[in-house]
Amino acid sequence: MSEIDQSKIRNFSIVAHIDHGKSTLADRIIEMTGLLTSREMQSQVLDNMELERERGITIKAQACRIIYNAKDGQEYILNMIDTPGHVDFNYEVSRSLAACDGAVLVVDATQGVEAQTLGNVYLALDDDLEIVPVINKIDLPSADPQRVIDEIEDIIGIEAQDAPQISAKTGEHVDQVLEAIVSKIPAPKGDRNAPLKALIFDSVYDSYKGVIISVRIMDGKVRRGSRIKMMATGAVEEVVEVGYFGPGQFIPCDELDAGMVGYITASIKNVSSTRVGDTVTEADHPCEKALPGYKKVQPMVYCGIYPADSAKYQDLRDALEKLQLNDASLSYEPETSAALGFGFRCGFLGLLHLEVVQERLEREYDLDLVTTAPGVVYRVHKTDGSMMELTNPSNLPDPSEIDFMEEPVVRAEIMVTTEFVGSIMQLCEERRGIYIGMDYMEQTRAVLHYRLPLNEIIYDFFDALKSRSRGYASLDYELDGYQRSDLVKLDILVNKETVDALSFIVFADSAYDRGRKMCEKLKEEIPRQLFDIPIQAAVNSRIIARETVKALRKDVLAKCYGGDISRKKKLLEKQKEGKKKMRQIGSVEIPQKAFLNVLKLDEQ
C-alpha cells in the first residue's frame, strides 16, 4: 500500500443517547459507502456480539474503515468507531473517543437532548474533539427538528443550525453526514517519521491469533516484523500482522501509518501483557513519553460469581481474564463461600453491566454460573476510627466494632409519561428516595429527579419501574456521594445454618420485610426433603422471620409393570439429574436457581 495522505483520513465516533439511532446510522454509512451491498447488510453490522443484536444495544465499541468519495472529488478514508449508549458503558465511549479526532453526535428529533447526549458530549469535549451534531428520525410524525436544534444550542452550546437533518432508517440526507465529517472533522496530525506511538483502545482474545489489539497510530508506523513494546507493562513482542477493520472482519495490510486506526497481532498469548489504554512503541526507538491513557473506573456494584460445577473454577478464571482484556472496567478477585465453594467477587459499573458480563460468560465461554445478591460498596466506620470499604457482606465486622455505616447514593432521572408520575413517585418513596424536582419536557412527558440510595435500585428497581409505567419509564443515574444510613446485615439460615451466599446488607427498617419475603421465596424454591427444613431470616443473630419447608410425604409411582419400566426409570433418572444441580448446604439440598430467584422480589 502506498503512503496514505493524512489529510485524507478522518477518525470519528458516533455518540448518542441510547436508542437515538447511532447503530442504524453506522449501518447506513457502511451501506452507502459501498462496503456491503444492501443484501449483505444485516441490521446493526457493527453490533456483532450475539447479545448486542438480541438486545438491540451496543455493548462493545467496534471500529470500521470506510472509503468515501466526497463531493470535492477526493477519496477519503473514514475510520468509524461505534460506541455504546448506556450509562453503564461510558468508559467504552471515552476509550473510543481517545482514538478519534471528532464525534458525530446523534440526537433524536422526537426526544431531544437527553442525559447521555450530554454525558457523551462532555466526554468528547474532554478529548478536545470536534463535534458534528446530527438530527435523526426526521421521518417520524412527532419529529420537531427545529426545537431539537435550539435545544442543542441552548443546552450544549454548540452551533447546530446547519446540522444535517436525517433519517438513518430511510437513508434520507445521510450523505450530508458524510460531507460534514469530511469538512468539519480535522485530519490527524501525526508525524510519520517520529518513533511509533500508538494508543491501545481495545483488545480481544482470539484462539488462533492470540491477543488482537486495536490501535490508533498517533506517530510513526508499524508493520509486520516490527519489534514493539508496551510502555506500561514493558512487554516486547514481534508484530505478526497489522491491518484495518472491515465490517465485522479483520483485513491485513502492509503497514499502519500515523493517523490510522487498525489492529496489531503479535502472538501475544499472555493476556496480562496488554492493557487497554497503554501506549505501543518501537522496542528499539521508543517514543519519549507515553500517551495519558485512561482513568481507572471504579466499580459501583459487586456480586459473587461461582461456577455451578465447582470443577469449572479454572475455566471461570480464564474466562474472566479474557473478558477483562476486552472490558477493563470489570474487576474480580477470588473469594470462597461456604455454600458455593470457590468463586470470584466481581465489580461492575452498574446492573446492566453485571447482566451483560454474566450473559457473556455463559454464552461465549459456555459456563453455568451461580451469582449472589448484588451489593454496593458500603463504608464501614469502625469504633477505632478506621474506615473499611465493604464489598462482601460476609466481611462485615462484628456490630460492636462498628461506629456507623455509609451507603452510596445516586441522582436519578426518571423520564415518564405524565399519567404514571404518581405511581413512579410512590415507587421512589418506597425505595427511600428523596424528591428533588420534576421538569416537564412536553405536555405529556416529565422528568422526575430523585436522590436514591444505590442499593435500593440495584435489585429490581428497573423491573418495578417498567411494570408500573407499562414499560414507558426510563432511568438514568449518576453517583452522588455517600450518606450515613442505618444499615444491618440480613442473614438467611437454612436448617439453622447460615448460608453466606444469601447474606446481604439492608436498610434496618426494611430488614423485616425483606427477610420475610426472602423466606417465603426460598420456601418455594427449596424442594421438600426427608425432614422439615426451617428457613429463617436473622439480623444480629435475632430471628426476624421464619418459614418451614414441610417434609416430603409422598414420592412413589403407583404402577410399574413390564411395559412401563423403561419410562419409569427415565423419570427417576430425571429426578436424580435435577438433584445434581443442587448445592448441599449442611444436610439440605438447595437448587442453584434458588440463589438467583430469591433476589427477584415480586413487585406486587
Partner: protein, 416 residues
C-alpha cells in the same frame, strides 16, 4: 404358591429359564379420562385383522426360539391385557391361546401350573363369554372396578356403574373363576377417606382373591391431567396428607379381610399373588406381543467365543411399534431395542423393581445372579438409607420401611 417362584433351593444357573408372555389388545369402548395406555376404540374389522397379526407374531417368535441354540424356557404365565380385551369376541381370545398351545416349541415347556390372566371391564362380560374363557384355559380374571361410588366413576370417565361390576363379579364366579383380581383407585377427585374405605370394604366383602389398589396418577396428556393442571378444579383432589392416609388405611383394612400387601399397590390372599406381575419385579424374561408391547430378553447372536467379559449376560428391552398400520403389516419385525441392559443396569433394576415388593430384595439371590455381594456394590447407599429410616434389613433381605414405601422414588433413584 408364591413360594415356588421366590427363593427356592435350586441354584439359579441350573434352573430352566422362566419366561412370561404378555398379549396386548389395545381396543376399548371409550378412553377413560385418566388413561395414558396405548388403547383406543375401533371397529370389528380392525380387531379381527389385529388378532391375526398377533398370531403371526406369536408363530414367528416361537420359530425363532426353535432356531436358537441352547434356548430353553419354562412358560410361567400369560397375561392378556389392554385396553379392554374382554371387548373382543371370546372365540378370538380362545383362538390366540390355541395358537400359543399348538405352536409351543419343544424348547418351551408349559409351567405347572401356568397362570393365564385376562383383563376385563364391567359391561363387556356375560356368562357365555366367561365360560369360554375358562374353557380356553384362562384361570385368572382381573376386573376394572376402580370405585364403589358411581359419582367417582363418572369423573374418571368409566362407562360402567358399581352395580355393573357386582354383576360381572358374580358371573365370573358362576363361570368358575377361582382367582379374581379387582382393580381399585384411590386419591380420586372428590374422594374422601370415608368413601375410599367404603369402596375397599364393599369390594373386599365380595371376596376376591386379589386387589390392586392404585393411587391415581395424573398422566401428562390425559383429560384429567389438563383439568387438574388448573387451579381450583372441581371436585378437588384429596391433598397429599389425605392421600397418604388412604394408602395406609388400605393396608389396615384389607388385612382385616385376609389380604396381604405384597407390592406397593398390590394385595392378595395367601398364595394368590400375581405370578405374572411378580415376574416383572423379579427380573423374569418376558415377551410382549402386540401393538407397543415390550419384551425383556437375553441378547443373542454373539457367538460365545467372541463375547467380551459379561457380554453374554446382556439383556435387551425391546418394544414393538406403536403405529397400528405398521404393526398389522409386519407384526414380527416392527420392534426396536429400547434399552440394552448391561450387568450394571440389571443390578439397578434388580434393586429398583425388587424394592417394589414388600419382601424386598434377597442378598442371596443378588449374589447368585450377579456373583457379587450386594453390600459391596451398594454399601454406602444402603447404609445411608437405613440410617434415614427408609430401608431395613432382616433375614437376609433388604426392604423398604413404611416410610420408604411412601418415598420409594427417593430410594430407588440412588441405584440408577
Amino acid at each position: 404358591m408364591p413360594e415356588q417362584f421366590g427363593v427356592s433351593g435350586t441354584p439359579y444357573m441350573e434352573k430352566k429359564q422362566e419366561i412370561e408372555l404378555y398379549l396386548h389388545l389395545p381396543f376399548c369402548v371409550k378412553k377413560c379420562a385418566y388413561c395414558d395406555f396405548l388403547s383406543f376404540p375401533s371397529g370389528a374389522e380392525t380387531q379381527t385383522a389385529y388378532v391375526e397379526a398377533l398370531k403371526r407374531e406369536i408363530r414367528a417368535f416361537f420359530a425363532e426360539i426353535e432356531e436358537t441354540e441352547g434356548a430353553e424356557y419354562c412358560l410361567r404365565s400369560v397375561f392378556i391385557g389392554g385396553g379392554t380385551p374382554s371387548l373382543l369376541p371370546a372365540e378370538q381370545i380362545a383362538g390366540i391361546l390355541t395358537e400359543i398351545r399348538s405352536d409351543l416349541p419343544g424348547a418351551v415347556s408349559m409351567g405347572e401350573p401356568c397362570e393365564i390372566t385376562i383383563e376385563a371391564n364391567p359391561g363387556t362380560l356375560d356368562l357365555q363369554k366367561l365360560s369360554l374363557y375358562r374353557n380356553s384355559g384362562i384361570n385368572r380374571i382381573s376386573i376394572g372396578c376402580q370405585s364403589a361410588n358411581d359419582r367417582e366413576l363418572k369423573v374418571l370417565g368409566r362407562i360402567h356403574s358399581f352395580a355393573d361390576f357386582q354383576k360381572s363379579f358374580r358371573l365370573a364366579r358362576e363361570a368358575g373363576f377361582e382367582n379374581i383380581n379387582v382393580d381399585l383407585m384411590a386419591g380420586l377427585p372428590g374422594q374422601t377417606r370415608q368413601s375410599w374405605e367404603k369402596t375397599l370394604r364393599t369390594v373386599a366383602e365380595r371376596g376376591p382373591e386379589h386387589i390392586s389398589a392404585y393411587s391415581l396418577i395424573l398422566e401428562e396428556g390425559t383429560p384429567l391431567y389438563h383439568r387438574y393442571a388448573e387451579k381450583d378444579a372441581f371436585p378437588p383432589l384429596p391433598d397429599e396428607e389425605t392421600e397418604r392416609e388412604m394408602y395406609h388405611r388400605t393396608e389396615e383394612i384389607l388385612r382385616e379381610y385376609g389380604f396381604r400387601r405384597y407390592e406397593i399397590s398390590n394385595y392378595a390372599k395367601k398364595g394368590y399373588e400375581s405370578v405374572h406381575n411378580t415376574g416383572y419385579w423379579d427380573g423374569t424374561f418376558y415377551k410382549g406381543f402386540g401393538l407397543g408391547a415390550a419384551s425383556l430378553l437375553p441378547e443373542r447372536g454373539i457367538p460365545s467365543g467372541e463375547r467380551a467379559e459379561g457380554e453374554g449376560k446382556i439383556r435387551l428391552r425391546v418394544r414393538n411399534t406403536e403405529d397400528l398400520n405398521r404393526y398389522l403389516n409386519n407384526p414380527s419385525s416392527c420392534s426396536h431395542v429400547e434399552e440394552r441392559l448391561t450387568v450394571k443396569d440389571q443390578m439397578a433394576e434388580f434393586m429398583i423393581l425388587g424394592f417394589r415388593m414388600i419382601r424386598g430384595v434377597s442378598l442371596w439371590e443378588f449374589r447368585e445372579r450377579f456373583d457379587r455381594d450386594l453390600e459391596d456394590v451398594y454399601g454406602s447407599v444402603l447404609q445411608k438409607q437405613q440410617s434415614e429410616g427408609l430401608l431395613e434389613k432382616s433375614g437376609g433381605r433388604l426392604r423398604l420401611t413404611e416410610r420408604g414405601l411412601d418415598l420409594a422414588n427417593l430410594v430407588m433413584e440412588e441405584y440408577l
